[in-house]
Amino acid sequence: MAAPLPKRIIKETERLQSEPVPGISAEPHEENARYFDVKVDGPSGSCYEGGEFQLELFLPDDYPMCPPRIRFLTKIYHPNIDRLGRICLDVLKNNWSPALQIRTILLSIQALLGAPNPEDPLNEAVAKQWKENQPEAIKTAREWTTLYAQKK
């Protein structure tokens, strides 16, 4: 890591510590300040409530021109998240704007958990299930949450 950390990253990091968003935490790695360990609580009222999901977040060199790269580490049953944890979310792709920040992105992800969108699936199987048998799908999601996303 040759280049010094941009002011923007430093400021975001600082602010994530000093003004944490409830239910979300992001800790930079000591050896790589662009790499964050993220934990997002499942939103209340959703099938992920009670779960604590771990994600990894990486800020590429051209951040904030480019969106951060982010992935679920915790297994999750969700139509917009594939088996590798990759997330289908517009603000992480075409709708990225440099005005968005780590904080806002994580909030978006939390919101995504609260409002799965099977119409724009990443995980076809889950999406299919979600569309054809939503109660079953929600049940599976709850199970998975209990199974994989228990707070330690």
Partner: protein, 1169 residues
């Protein structure tokens, strides 16, 4: 009468031709010009021919005897041989008039011994001589009474001449008869010559016919051409009259016979009267208004000069007193000058041989040679040799400390200069006293002969033993010509940057006139006194009055302000009164102000421009006699000292400015110049002429000893003389001189020059490539057609456009840029050349975003408030707080300019439509506006400096303390009024970010911003050769909130001065935009320490000179120069051309226009390769 007589006479002469075949070609060549027959010899014993025939050291005694016709003692012949060597004619004259007996040539008076002069003459000779003697005795000899004053004519000598008859008859003329010598000018030249050939119109001036008539008034004949040439001049100009006596004539005279006459020469009284002679340059009116007349005056002068010298030679009158220095040169003599003139004329004549052969000395078809020749240019090495001598500066020269009223520290070499200068001024004063009795170096003294040719005593005139002649001007005087004060100053030729101005100012402080010292000593008393004396002075005097406390400084306009400020800086407050005398500021009557009576209050330094001197010179000249004093201006005073700065301004002695400067009078005269000789020896003459260095300030003298030898190829001799002239006059040191211990004369801080290569943006590159392809096509086409030289301007114009496009593409559309360039015809070319070029127009359109005159109503209250509110927030993109160069999108979302543009760029690269980072509205790079915040400080500047106000698209006033409910305060249409709003009000305006920008400008702005941040007090000079580029740079700097001033050739002196003062006095970061040309000479910009060269010039020397405005004496800090050069472009290639040029010894200045073009073509080949 003349023509009627001449024709038959000529026929006879063709008869004679049989006897004299060697004359034939000459006559045959010019049959139609009878008065140009310049000799009438017929017999071989002719005196004039005898002269030509003898080339040995001495004349042949036999011939001599044959001529004088009898026994001559050997001793007499030997003595004559000794004195006249080969000059048989003179010897014969001397023999006849008896002057050969004179023991030394210094005493032309014949000794009072014996009257044995005509003894032992031959049969013819004896009779003629005795009778002649009788004749003259009766006519002239009388007891010598002492006369009270100069008689109307006075005898000075006699000579023998030959003439030829124009009539035939018996007893027309007998030996001993008196003959009259007459000049009859031909009234008008003949319209048509023989054979119908038109005659030369100048014929009148060629008329040198001198007739002689017998006592009955019948014309007998004419004098031979050789003598007639100068005799006619003397008679015409009323210098002399001649009385002739026939010495020999055949009894029966036939036309074209030769007769011998003795002429007695009498000087006319009026010849000595002042005013009878036109003195060129002495009278303003003549030189000022009758420029053409001056040529004839000068021609007359020259003729008289030559005639007098010949007269003295013929009558063998030697000067009794000559100035030593002049005498040294005298032997090579004034006649050499005449010879040179003759050569000129002969050359001229051969060129026009078919028309006529111009008689020598008479100018003929060409004006006098000194009038129109300009002198040859010096080769560089000759110039070097010259300077070398003057530059052998002795580092052990004593120093003089300046007066204590002078507060600047002088370096050692400057104190040495002061010592030298004071010495010059003081020494000269001493020598002036000594000079009171010494004769003016150009004049010669001649004793009036006491006896005439017949040894008769002549009337003696009381207290007039001698008369005086200036052989270099042909002036005559009865009064002793006192040596005028010679040069009381010199040439300070230190190289640029060594501080000539300072040195001069130290002199102003340290050597004052006695009157001024007295005035200072008297102090207040004198001041009171001056009130009464002022009233006395008010009645205007016609005379030039003395200004003993005043030094006049004449400088180019651009340096006036600098002189004034340097003078102020160098002086203890209150010790030096300076006054600008320029333009509208010259309302004062200088006579009143500067008179001796007012010495205590008179300005000590008056600073004026060459233009002012010239215009006053013209108006004084127009007023006529006595105008100098009445005018009350620069010419009405006799200053203590005059200083001409950048004195090569007067290098052309014929220019009016030079003539005007010569007329200024002063005790001490100084010229400052880094280049005393620009390229001709005559350049130096003008300085010497101004300094009034006798005898060199006489152009005839100068020409004789410097110009003529130089043109004859005797370079060494000419340059030797120039060195002798220069050595006592010039002090010159150069920057690279080192003291014996090896230290630089002027240690200057380091100078770092860096080249920064710039990449053009894509649209710029497109424009560049387009023009480049075009230029290359044109070039190739012309190479193929072989019309390279013909289409030079076209190609050159395209190269110019290429260079402009490197600066900013829109420059190529501006016409005025041409004014900066060499050839004016390029103007048309540029205007027309690309007009039809639609591709380029399209390309350029990108740079000419429609004027940002957006409807102000678009900017609603909230928007402006929002922008204002956001100003101090952090950038949403980079989190910088506050934003750097806050800019807004078309949808009014703010971010740093760079962030915003980077993001747009980022999206564009991904082939996405750029959208607002905030609202995702599609946005456009052109719709990004930078928010310009005007600090109160800048607002103040605007009041004095219009430049900042210029070019704003849209202005919105915002009250920083804004009351939310006051809508009006946010009205975007309300202009900011400095006096209406308190200072707290911050004004913002929005400016399109991408407008008027180019890669080069961006780099410059980036540099400047960094500098401003890092060193908020630094001053920067930005040079460009294109004023149109400066036009673009200005608003760009404003946009970046960078204060700037501008200096270019179009500004008035007052503006320039103000700009320079402002720039020097500003305490904050400031930029001076300056055009390369305007900043080339003299300026002192040492207050800056950063330089940006926006575009390369053909030779680096020009850029270097500009850089030296900053990196010169007085610079205390390291100077960093950044040369901005567009990579992979013509500019880079120009750098290569520059490098190559450094190795070409002769600069462009030494080349002819054609050579320059060739050179440029070579350059262009390289540029387009």
């Amino acid at each position: 009468m003349t023509d009627v007589q001449e024709r038959p006479h000529k026929k006879r002469r063709f008869f004679v031709d049989d006897d004299e075949p060697q004359q034939e070609p000459e006559f045959a060549a010019e049959p139609s010009l009878p008065d140009e027959i310049n000799t009438a010899p017929e017999a071989s014993e002719h005196v004039s021919h005898a002269e030509q025939e003898y080339t040995q050291d001495v004349f042949d005694p036999d011939t001599f005897k044959a001529v004088v016709g009898g026994e001559v003692p050997h001793s007499a012949i030997r003595s004559l041989q000794k004195r006249f060597s080969t000059n048989l004619e003179q010897a014969i004259n001397a023999y006849f008039d008896g002057s050969w007996r004179t023991p030394s040539p210094q005493k032309p008076k014949p000794p009072a011994v014996g009257l044995k002069f005509p003894r032992a003459l031959g049969r013819e000779g004896s009779s003629t001589c005795s009778s002649k003697e009788n004749g003259t005795t009766s006519g002239k000899t009388s007891p010598p009474p002492a006369l009270e004053a100069m008689p109307s004519t006075r005898y000075i000598g006699a000579l023998g001449v030959a003439g030829w008859t124009t009539r035939s008859g018996n007893g027309l003329l007998k030996p001993g008869d008196n003959v009259k010598i007459e000049r009859t000018k031909q009234a008008m030249p003949q319209k048509v010559g023989r054979g119908g050939r038109p005659k030369q119109l100048q014929r009148k001036t060629q008329d040198v016919i001198v007739r002689f008539t017998n006592m009955k008034g019948e014309e007998i004949g004419r004098l031979e051409k050789d003598n007639a040439n100068w005799i006619s001049t003397l008679v015409d100009q009323k210098v002399c009259s001649f009385h002739g006596t026939c010495v020999f004539a055949p009894e029966r005279i036939r036309t074209n016979d030769t007769v011998y006459l003795q002429l007695k020469c009498y000087m006319l009284k009026q010849a000595f009267e002042k005013g009878n002679f036109i003195k060129p340059l002495e009278n303003n009116r003549q030189t000022g208004l009758f420029e053409t007349k001056e040529t004839t005056d000068e021609q007359d002068l020259r003729l008289r000069q030559v005639a007098l010298v010949q007269l003295f030679q013929e009558i063998n009158l030697q000067p009794s007193k000559v100035n030593e220095t002049t005498a040294k040169h005298k032997r090579e003599g004034i006649l050499q000058a005449a010879q040179v003139a003759e050569q000129y004329d002969n050359q001229d004549a051969t060129q026009k041989a078919k028309k006529s052969s111009t008689p020598p000395e008479n100018g003929g078809s060409s004006p006098p040679s000194e009038e129109n020749e300009e002198g040859e240019e010096l080769e560089q090495d000759q110039l070097d040799t010259l300077y070398k001598k003057a530059q052998s500066f002795d580092f052990d020269t004593p120093v003089t400390e300046p007066a204590e009223t002078f507060v600047m520290d002088l370096r050692k070499y400057q104190k040495q200069a002061l010592h030298w200068m004071i010495n010059k001024e003081m020494q000269q004063q001493d020598s002036e006293r000594a000079a009171a009795q010494s004769m003016h170096p150009l004049w010669e003294e001649y004793l009036w002969p006491g006896k005439d040719a017949d040894e008769k005593d002549l009337p003696h005139v009381a207290s007039q033993e001698a008369f005086y002649v200036n052989p270099y001007s042909g002036e005559l005087s009865l009064d002793f010509p006192v040596q005028e004060q010679t040069c009381r100053g010199g040439i300070l030729a230190d190289e640029m940057g060594l501080g000539k101005t300072i040195e001069m100012l130290s002199l102003v402080h340290s050597h004052t006139s006695p009157e001024q010292q007295a005035a200072i000593a008297a102090g207040g008393a004198a001041a009171e006194d001056s009130v009464s004396s002022l009233t006395r002075q008010l009645k205007k005097t016609d005379d030039v009055i003395s200004a003993p406390a005043t030094t006049l400084v004449v400088a180019p306009m651009s340096l006036l302000a600098q002189w004034a400020s340097e003078a102020e800086k160098a002086s203890r407050p209150g010790t030096l009164r300076t006054m600008m005398y320029y333009g509208n500021e010259k309302n004062a009557n200088l006579q009143t102000l500067c008179s001796a009576a007012n010495a205590a209050n008179a300005p000590n330094v008056i600073i004026t421009s060459y233009g002012t001197v010239l215009s006053e010179y013209n108006s004084v000249a127009a007023l006529g006699e006595g105008a100098r004093g009445r005018h009350g201006g620069l010419f009405s005073l006799d200053y203590w000292r005059i200083i001409l700065d950048e004195a090569h301004m007067i290098k052309n002695r014929q220019s009016k400015t030079a003539k005007a400067c010569y007329e200024l009078s002063a005790h001490h005269r100084w010229v400052l110049t880094g280049t005393p000789i620009v390229n001709r020896l005559e350049d130096l003459f003008s300085l010497v002429r101004f300094l009034r260095v006798e005898p060199w300030s006489n152009f005839s003298f100068w020409k004789t000893f410097i110009t003529a030898p130089f043109e004859k190829g005797e370079f060494v001799r000419a340059l030797d003389v120039v060195q002798t002239v220069l050595e006592p006059l010039v002090l010159r040191r150069t920057k690279d001189m080192r003291t014996p211990s090896g230290e630089a004369l002027v240690p200057l801080p380091a100078k770092i020059v860096e080249v920064e290569h710039i990449q053009l943006s894509q649209p710029e590159r497109e424009v560049y490539d387009h023009i480049y392809a075009r230029a290359k096509r044109t070039f190739a086409a012309n190479v193929e057609a072989g019309t390279l030289m013909k289409s030079y301007t076209t190609i050159f114009a395209q190269i110019l456009r290429l260079r402009q496009s490197c600066c900013h593409p829109i420059l190529t559309r501006k016409k005025e840029v041409v004014a900066e360039e060499d050839a004016a015809e390029e103007a048309a070319d540029i205007a027309n050349g690309l007009a039809d070029d639609m591709d380029l127009v399209t390309l350029l359109a990108k740079f000419q975003a429609e004027e940002g005159e957006q409807d102000a109503s678009k900017f609603g209250t909230n928007v402006l408030k929002q922008i204002q509110d956001e100003a101090n927030m952090e950038c949403p993109i980079c989190s910088e707080e506050p934003m750097e160069e806050q800019s807004v999108t078309g949808c009014w979302h703010s971010a740093c300019k760079k962030c915003l543009l980077d993001y747009i760029e980022h999206q564009t690269q991904k082939n996405e439509v750029p959208r607002c980072f905030n609202c995702r509205e599609p946005i456009n790079a052109r719709d990004v506006f930078e928010v310009i915040r005007h600090e109160p400080d800048d607002a103040e500047d605007e009041d004095v400096d219009n430049s900042i106000v210029a070019g704003h698209r849209l202005t919105a006033a915002i009250d920083a303390d804004g009351e939310d409910d006051n809508e009006d305060l946010y009205s975007s249409t309300q202009p900011f009024k400095p006096d209406a709003k308190p200072k707290a009000a911050a004004r913002i305006s929005l400016r399109r970010v991408n407008q008027l920008s180019s890669a080069k400008i961006n780099i410059l702005i980036t540099h400047l911003k960094k500098l401003k941040k890092a060193e908020p007090q630094t001053k920067v000079v930005v040079f460009s050769q294109f004023t149109s580029f400066l036009d673009v740079l200005g608003p760009a700097l404003t946009g970046a909130s960078i204060h700037y001033l501008r200096f270019d050739g179009s500004m008035s002196q007052k503006e320039r001065a103000r700009v320079l003062t402002d720039f020097a006095n500003r305490t904050k970061f400031s930029v001076l935009l300056i055009s390369l040309r305007a900043g080339g000479v003299g300026l002192n910009l040492t207050c800056a320490k950063r330089v940006f060269m926006m575009d390369p010039w053909w030779s680096f020397a020009v850029e270097a000179q500009a850089i030296d405005r900053v990196h010169r004496m007085g610079q205390t800090e390291e100077v960093k120069v950044t040369r901005l050069v567009v990579g992979n472009s013509i500019e880079e290639k120009m750098l290569r051309v520059q490098d190559r040029k450094k190795f070409i010894a002769s600069s462009l200045g030494m080349m002819s226009d054609e050579e320059k073009k060739m050179q440029r073509i070579e350059d262009i080949k390289e540029l387009l390769s």
